[in-house]
């Protein structure tokens, strides 16, 4: 069972709601994945409220818990205000905090991220920071009040999969009891399995599912991959070794010559 800010969740797969071919396919992907948390955003409303209203209705029907984001925010003040507006709309203290530092890589501005996290935690928000795999930044975020961390494993939407296994391993070892969610960079189910085998608590996906040829089928594939990785972590895996070890016992083997 995964617990995030006191909320128990059966599914370790968090899913973004963007880039699907249609709302119906998004709904089917959520159903196939069994996901209990979906990320959403806020944008300027130009149609008198009707555009956002249609999407809001769809999200309500999904029955999943909502994790609003501050995507696209580059300044601390912008991210903080967006978080407050998201709380007003969605009625949750949860916020996926993004403070983007670089246009091309969408790399987090970790300095602004820590500052924004501190402000928001002080105002009662339960912050899910989108961060890098830097350990010192992670410590600062925890000091700022974050009780969940969401390191990337590769740039957003890149589908490259884990680029720095050693850093992810170090972060897991350093925060054994803190929920850690890999957010961003996963492209295929085996990537998700890899980070779950490292002991990560959950995975947040969007493009890898939404951009697949059959998003609902891919959502199901990811759900299985995440469960498999988690079960493997809990079961305890063999470490690689240099020498061959016979799997069939040699004692009692017949001698014919």
């Amino acid at each position: 069972m995964l617990t995030l800010y006191g909320q128990e969740l059966g599914s370790r797969m968090l899913l973004g709601t963007a880039r699907y071919p249609s709302p119906a396919i998004l709904a089917e992907a959520v159903r196939q994945a069994g996901t209990e948390v979906v990320t959403v955003s806020l944008r300027r409303e130009t149609a008198g409220g009707r555009q956002g209203g249609a999407f809001f209705e769809l999200i309500r029907e999904l029955g999943a818990r909502v994790l609003p984001n501050t995507a696209g925010c580059h300044a601390v003040s912008e991210a903080v205000l967006t978080a407050k507006m998201a709380r007003e709309v969605f009625g949750t203290n949860w916020i996926k905090l993004e403070v983007i530092g670089h246009h091309d890589t969408l790399q987090p501005d970790v300095f602004g991220l820590v500052e924004a996290a501190r402000i928001l935690a002080g105002e009662g928000f339960e912050v899910f920071p989108y961060t890098t795999d830097d350990l010192v930044v992670a410590e600062r975020l925890v000091e700022a009040g974050c009780k969940v961390l969401m390191p990337w494993c590769a740039p957003i939407g890149s589908a490259m999969g884990p680029q720095n296994i050693a850093a992810l391993r170090t972060m897991r070892a350093h925060f054994p009891d803190l929920p850690l969610i890999v957010d961003a960079g996963i492209g295929r189910p085996s990537h998700a399995t890899t980070v779950m085998e490292l002991g990560y608590d959950a995975v947040l996906l969007n493009t890898a599912v939404a951009g697949a040829g059959n998003p609902a089928l891919m959502a199901a594939a990811f759900a299985k991959a995440i469960d498999a990785g988690r079960a493997a972590f809990e079961a305890g895996m063999l470490e690689p070794r240099d020498m061959a070890v016979p799997s069939t016992p040699v004692i009692g083997k017949a001698v014919f010559s």
């Binding site: 973004g16 709601t17 963007a18 880039r19 699907y20 998004l26 990320t39 959403v40 955003s41 806020l42 944008r43 300027r44 409303e45 130009t46 008198g48 409220g49 009707r50 555009q51 956002g52 209203g53 999407f55 809001f56 999200i59 609003p68 984001n69 995507a71 003040s77 205000l81 967006t82 407050k84 507006m85 998201a86 007003e88 709309v89 969605f90 957003i156 939407g157 969007n206 493009t207």
Partner: protein, 65 residues
């Protein structure tokens, strides 16, 4: 008065935030509003008087990752 609503400059006779939302035909309980970079709660819109050249943001839910 002149207001900047979601980045666009427009003229309106509305004096409060709720009047402005009505005049611009916004509807629904899923909107969030801010004036000059400060959140204005849903319940405070009726009493929030606007000033000339105020910058108003009106946001609503959208898909996101």
């Amino acid at each position: 008065m002149t207001y900047i609503v979601n980045g666009e400059t427009l003229e309106s006779s509305a004096n409060t935030l709720s009047e402005l939302l009505l005049a611009l035909e916004y509807e629904g309980d899923w909107l969030a509003t801010a004036v000059n970079g400060e959140l204005v709660h849903r319940g405070d819109r009726t009493n929030h008087r606007l000033n000339d050249r105020d910058r108003i943001e009106i946001l609503s839910p959208m898909k996101g990752g």
